[in-house]
C-alpha cells in the first residue's frame, strides 16, 4: 500500500546512465572549525540504484553522507557549503524534519532504541503522525519488518526489547525502522562493519532488494562490498572526490592512479 507508486516507476532495471539523479551535489565543501574535510565535491546519486562511497579512513565519505540528510547540522563546529539537491529542490529550503523523513539513515553501529521491537519500528510513523490508529501502525510495522526480511524471525517476539536481537537482526531492525517512515533515499553508513560475514551477506541481499523501491547511498570500507552491492561507486581521498563511475568500470578500469592504488590495496 505504501510504496506502490514509487515501485511502478522504478528505474532499478535501467542502466546508471539512463537514470535521473535523486540527489545531486555540486561544489560541496565541509569545514570542521578551521579544518576542511571535503573539497568541492560534485556527485549525482541515481534513482533506484545503490551508490557506494569508498575511500580510506578519514577521507570524508561519512561526512558527505551526513550532508545529504543534514545530520551535520547537529555538530556545532561543522559548516557545510555548496549546493545539494533532492529532486531538484535545495535541501536547505526544506525543513530539516521533512528532509530526514524523506532521507532515512542507517548507522554504523546498530542503534535500536531501548524499546520493544514493535515500538522501534513504530517510532517513525508515530512521530510523523503517519498512522491514525493502532491498526495502521501495525500494518506499517509488519510491512516494514517484512521488507527488511525480519518479520519471520521476530513475529512472535514483537514485545521483546530491540536490543535482545543479534547484531545482524538489530541492524535489519534499524533498516525496518528507517523504511517505516517511507523515505525516498536511505543512507547507510558502514552498516555491516559491526557484523559477522553471514549477517553481512544477509544485509547485502537486503540492500539489493530494497533498491527496487528506494535510492540507496552506502558508505563502506570494504571494496568487495562496494563491488557486490553497488551499481555506482565514488572514490574519495583526503576530502576530494577522485573518481566516480559505474562500479564495474571503477574496479576493472580505474582512470585515476590513486583509485587504482586503493583498489589494488597499495594504500588505505
Amino acid at each position: 500500500m505504501l510504496q506502490t507508486q514509487t515501485s511502478s516507476l522504478s528505474y532499478a532495471h535501467q542502466t546508471v546512465e539512463e537514470t535521473p539523479s535523486k540527489v545531486s551535489a555540486r561544489g560541496v565543501n565541509v569545514f570542521y572549525g578551521a579544518k576542511q574535510a571535503l573539497f568541492d565535491v560534485d556527485l549525482d546519486v541515481p534513482v533506484n540504484h545503490v551508490t557506494a562511497l569508498i575511500g580510506p579512513s578519514g577521507c570524508g565519505k561519512s561526512t558527505f553522507l551526513r550532508c545529504i540528510n543534514r545530520m551535520n547540522d547537529v555538530v556545532e563546529i561543522c559548516r557545510v557549503e555548496g549546493d545539494i539537491r533532492l529532486d531538484e529542490g535545495d535541501i536547505y529550503d526544506l525543513d530539516v524534519v521533512e528532509l530526514r523523513a524523506r532521507v532515512g539513515m542507517v548507522f554504523q553501529k546498530p542503534n535500536p532504541f531501548p524499546k520493544t521491537i514493535f515500538d522501534n519500528v513504530a517510532y517513525g510513523p508515530r512521530i510523523h503522525g503517519l498512522a491514525s490508529n493502532r491498526d495502521e501502525v501495525e500494518e506499517i510495522v509488519f510491512t516494514s519488518l517484512e521488507k527488511a526480511g525480519l518479520l519471520k524471525e521476530v513475529r512472535d517476539r514483537l514485545s521483546e526489547p530491540g536490543t535482545s536481537l543479534s547484531g545482524g537482526q538489530q541492524q535489519r531492525l534499524c533498516i525496518a525502522r528507517a523504511i517505516a517512515v517511507n523515505p525516498e533515499v536511505i543512507l547507510m553508513d558502514e552498516p555491516c562493519s559491526a557484523l559477522d560475514p553471514i549477517a553481512t551477506a544477509r544485509i547485502e541481499e537486503l540492500i539489493d532488494e530494497l533498491r527496487q523501491i528506494y535510492t540507496i547511498v552506502i558508505v563502506t570500507h570494504s571494496m568487495q562490498q562496494a563491488a557486490r552491492v553497488s551499481q555506482r561507486t565514488a572514490f574519495l581521498h583526503l576530502g576530494e572526490l577522485v573518481e566516480v563511475g559505474n562500479t564495474e568500470d571503477i574496479f576493472t578500469n580505474p582512470r585515476d592512479e590513486r583509485t587504482q592504488g586503493y583498489i589494488t590495496g597499495r594504500f588505505g
Binding site: N69, V74, A101, N111, F113, P114, Y123, P161
Partner: protein, 435 residues
Amino acid sequence: MTDSTPTIPSRSDTTQTVRNGLRRRYAAERRFKIYGVAAIGVALLMLAIMFGTIIGNGWSAFRQTYVQMDVLVDAAEIDPDGNRDPKVLSRGDYEGLIKAALREMFPDVKKRKEKRELYDLVSSGAAFDLRDEVMADPSLVGQTVSVTVHASDDVDMYMKGYISAEVAEDERRVSDKQIARIESLREQGRISTGFNLRFFTGGDSREPELAGIAGAALGSLWTMLAVLVMAFPMGVMAAIYLEEFAPKNRWTDIIEVNINNLAAVPSIVFGLLGLAVFLNFFGMPRSAPLVGGLVLALMTLPTIIIAGRAALTAVPPSIREGALGLGASRMQMVAGNVLPLAMPGMLTGAIIGMARALGETAPLLMIGMVAFIVDLPKGPLDAATVLPVQIFLWADSPERAFVERTSAATIVLLVFLILMNLGAVLLRKKFERRW
C-alpha cells in the same frame, strides 16, 4: 636476543628480574588492600557507634510512664447545670479534680510545699487526659472514674532509672518524699509503662512528657513536598535546556559556572535570600513550610541541574542520532528517547539534593521555622518547624527527658530519610529498565 647484542638483556636475565620483583609487587598490592579494608572498617565502626548511641539514647523515649488514678468526676465542679452541655464540660476544672484525687490517695499531705510536690507527680497534661475521657463519655460525670494519666517527666525519668535515689536529695529533681510516694504507687500497681503514643501524634510542648514529633515530621513532609514540586521539574527542565537546546557560547558558559558555584554556596545564604525576597519583598507568611520549601528548592536546584546534565550527557549519541535520523524533532528526541534513559540519573541527583534539604537547619532559622509551634501544620501555609530544627530545639532544652527525645527525634529523622530514599530507589528501579 643473541650474544652479539649485549645491550638487550638475555631472556633468562629478564625472567630473573621479573621474578625478583614479584614479591615486592604483591606485597604492595596486599598493603593497599589492608589500607582499604581498614578505612572501610573505621567507617563502619563509626556508623555502628553513631547508630548505637542514637538508638541507645533514644529508645526509652518510645515508652512512657503512666499513673492510674481513681478520680471522682464531681458534677458540681464541671457540670453545675447538669445538662451535659459539651461547651460547659470542656471548660470544667479538671485540674482541680486530679489534684483532689491525689490528695485523696495521700491523705497525710497537708503542707503547701508538700502538696505542690504531690501534684508534680503527674503531668500537667493529666487534666486533659481526664477531660478527653469525660468529653467522650459524658455519662461519667458524677462517678468515680479510673483514668490512666501521663506521669510527669521527673517521675518518668526516675522510673527509667535516669534519676538515682542514691544521689544527694538536693542534687536531683525528685525529692525523697516524692520517691516514697512513687514507690507506694508502684506497690499499689498504679504505675505502668506503655507505648508513648503521644510522641508520635503530638506537637511540641514545654513539658517533655507531652512533647511529640508529629508536628515537626508533618512540617518536614510539607517542606519536602514543596521542594519536590518546585525543584525537580525546574531542575530537570533547566538541565534539558542547557544540555540539549542552549547554544554553546559565552553566556551559557557563564550560566554553567554560576550553577556550579551555587552548589557550593553555604546554605545559610539561601536563608538570608529567602528572608529578603520571600518574606520581606513578597510578604509571604513566616514559618511556613511553603517558604521553607522555596528556600530549600533554591538550594537543591544546582545539585539537580548538575546531576541532570551529567545524566543527559551519559545517554549514548547513537540514540540521539537514531532519533534525529528518522526525522524526530529535537523535542521529540529529548522527550521520547533521551529523557527516559537519563531519568534514573536525574532521580539520583534529586535524591541527593532532597536528602541534603531534609537535614538542613540553618536556612530555615532565617525564615522563622525555628518557632515553638504546638499545633500540627495542616497545610504548607501553616506555621511549622521541621525535624532537624526540632532536634536542635530539644537538644537546647535543660530537662533530662528531652535528652532521650532528642535522640528519638533523630531516629525519626533517619527513618524519614530512609523511607524517602527507599521511595526514590524504587522509582529509579521502575525507570531503569535496561534492555
